[in-house]
Symmetry: C3
Subunit: 362 residues, 3 copies
């Protein structure tokens, strides 16, 4: 209630807002979102970015702002692999270089270039590099299981959320929330909450793992077990990597066998978040299952149900937290931390350290 504290909090939050990790790959879009003929615009890290595909299918990205009069280039038109601004017809190639100025003598000022962004297209996503340093493809984590599967076992979805991206990461890193937030299709029946998951941290990852028994098993897996109504052993194994990727394995097994995706009925998931701004996040999800991998109808139904669960069950809670917080500075609000916060708090601290290191070396 103190004015000065509020002002300081506001200042701190405003500063935090621009402190994105830069030397890393963010998921910009699902591959299927980038059109082959048209232009596509998305705000990423407070910047509007234009995307399209060249004739050969390669996606390209550049700032969605003409350097002349600042019209978003996405309001313009394609000309082959180039883009023409709607306002004064400046033309830019895929690297953002102006290649044609129809005005006057047609001289092209050396500053007439748009910032372009390196992209990687992998795992069903288009990943973007928004740093001033050279793009380093080795910094994109390996999610290769998403590449090596029949299409009927793989699904991707996109969910815009009105919340800070770290709140979404918190939510996934603390899977105990499933006990309380989610309905039948992915219910964990209260079994995760009493567990204190072992957490392992590396230089740039945080891993947590839950193992438990549940009767009946999680609905999305139960029908593929010998006895859908009987107890199963289950596991979650999740690994965060910068900036906001969480790779998640979940599986169930009845009888002997190991709690991994080789022996269990389960799936390999990727949750990945990209801030649009401090108040809006692009939340992406991909999943590959290891059972009835050729059933396209089941595949379609299941991603629809999971998308619905995230949007109607996690979404309102995360957005309500964001609104109630009124700041992105989580620790400034003195949260009461519990055993289920170990993994998300490790992630918050590691990310903060990576951002601080990056800014020191800038």
């Amino acid at each position: 209630m103190d004015t000065q504290v509020t002002a300081e909090t506001a200042a701190r939050a405003a500063k935090a807002e621009s402190q994105y990790l830069r030397n890393c790959w963010y998921a910009a879009a699902l591959s299927r979102e980038i059109p082959t003929e048209d232009l596509f615009s998305r705000k990423l890290l407070d910047t509007n970015v234009l995307f399209y595909r060249k004739a050969d299918g390669t996606p390209v990205a550049m700032q969605d702002r003409c350097p002349h009069r600042f019209l978003p280039l996405s309001l313009g038109t394609r000309q082959g692999d180039q883009v023409v601004c709607k306002y004064h017809a400046l033309r830019f190639d895929c690297d953002g270089q102006c290649t044609h100025n129809p005005h006057g003598k047609g001289l092209i000022p050396s500053a007439a270039r748009v910032r372009s962004y390196p992209l990687l297209e992998k795992y069903g996503f288009v990943w973007i590099w928004m740093s001033d340093r050279p793009a380093d493809p080795s910094l994109l984590p390996d999610f290769s299981p998403l590449n090596e599967a029949p299409a009927t076992s793989l699904a991707h979805t996109y969910m815009p959320m009105k919340a800070h991206y770290e709140l979404i990461v918190d939510n996934v890193m603390d899977l105990s929330h499933i006990d309380h937030v989610h309905g039948e299709i992915i219910t964990t029946r209260g079994q995760l909450t009493p567990l204190i998951p072992p957490v392992k941290e590396s230089n740039n990852t945080v891993n947590a793992r839950w193992e438990w028994k549940q009767t009946p098993p999680m609905m999305i897996l139960a029908n593929f077990l010998p006895d859908p109504q009987a107890e199963a052993r289950m596991f979650f194994d999740i690994t965060w990597s910068a900036p906001a990727n969480i790779q998640l394995d979940v599986g169930a097994i009845q009888g002997d066998g190991r709690l991994d995706l080789k022996d269990s009925v389960g799936q390999y998931d990727l949750h990945t978040c990209t801030p649009a701004s401090k108040d809006e996040t692009h939340y992406f999800f991909a999943t590959r299952r290891n059972h009835i991998v050729d059933d396209g109808a089941f595949n379609e139904m299941k991603i629809k149900l999971m998308h619905e669960a995230f949007v109607t069950e996690d979404g309102p809670i995360i957005e309500a937290v964001h609104q109630e917080m009124g700041t992105s500075d989580f620790f400034a609000l003195n949260p009461v931390l519990l055993s289920n916060d170990v993994a998300p708090v490790r992630v918050r601290r590691l990310l903060a350290r990576l951002i601080a290191e990056e800014q020191r070396s800038a």
Copy 2:
């Protein structure tokens, strides 16, 4: 038009915004708004507050924010007299103390408590104490006439307004506005404006009184006088008390008798305002009449008409003033004060003094 002046005005307004009087009771809700089974949330003095009733009917209030992950508790569920957070199932008792943590070993951190607020339920309202100092029930003014009446003579209503609460207080403290703003049902036929009401001020109250004659009398009273079309003597007697209560007596009489509610046909009203923020106010109204006190149908019709008058006649004017002012710092705009402003200006100055004293002694 000067930038610097605007900046100063903005800074002053921002400061004023957090300067609520704290050591006092605010009307939080009508008694009937607080549910017996469900949870109820309302923003008061910039803070979201959760309300519900215990099994024995006692209302309770606490900050509507889980201290763990900041989800509004109002999104959770009741468990007996306690409330369970929807996000991670922390449970809190009526005092805001965490009583159950299902996570890990179930230890309850000492900080796991929600700020609770003392309440008083009186006069058809639930009153809240939002200060750090101990609640002092003696600071709730005496509106006991609202307690001692048949239900068919009593009515309460609630009107959210997009305006600073002091503008609503100004409006009631200067009843000359009725001459100009209100239609037939409570018209004063221009008789108040020429009057300069005597104003009496105590340490923490401001009283004003108008006496006049009117033909025909105010419509809501006229039909209960001997001759509804003939002249009547009338009076208003209003008393402001901190923070934003205005108790109002209004009556009409034909023939002999005193201008008070014993001799006159009239009603005992309470207007009370609670800021949600500097731009939004909860405006509450209660009224008890001293005639046909058993007529429930009339009672219902009358409160509906009065509610309509406040919402459609006062509301747009007060909200337009709020918007045109663009600040809550009334005196900074150098208002031209008239004789009808004596009472509201005394209230503004007394309230400012009470706030300043409270902050000095904090």
Copy 3:
């Protein structure tokens, strides 16, 4: 991306925001917008202004804010040539002087006056003077051709835009945009873009002129030429004057004759802009054609088409630029300037110089 730079940019923009040129005439409204019986309110230069007409038809303007309690006077009523505040019935004459206070003894405080604004009604517009210095009618540029024409050859329209007014001025001062933005009715078929228009600057005007050939000619003129499908010589001649007027001649001719409105088929236009705030502009347009001047049906159809072109073709582009810029400080964004920017940049610099001079001498 740097926080400090952003803060400085914001501060600079905030300062620029209040830096309107003051000693000049702004178009406040089309003449037909100011009612004879009612009250009319419009925000101009961040100030709400009340307009109405006296019984003799003369328009008057004053701040739309009662000096007593700050209700917009436009919510009040007319009383002859005066206006009565809805809240407490203070009455003001056309000069903003309070002439009646019904409260108490009726004394009128000397401060009880509203700031009134000098107006000029000319050329189908009501022009307002919003400076503290005495109004100087000689500073309204001469647009007398708009006065000397049959009504069936003259048309005016009004378009509110969500953009900074200088972006609209930029758009008109660089007519090369017609090649790219506009559809058939005013198309220039790509002929303007290669031209570098000669630009002439005086103390307070900037003139530019384009001459070109086009086949077929611009649709709004073609049908009045000997051969609507054949090549025509065409010209644009535009003159900016402070604060945001652009007078534009456009014409087409086949065969001999000069490129002016005496010899050519063409029209005399006026574009004029008035900021409501830094984010909203009142955009006015008037046009007088020199052919089939008695055809009222054509006149009506043509202004409707031109209005549509401005609203659906220029509007979205200018508003998208405004939003993408996020500031009104154009040069702070380091635009890449081209040959087509010569005229608009001269205007921006001249206007900035006029504002700076005015503020120095204040």
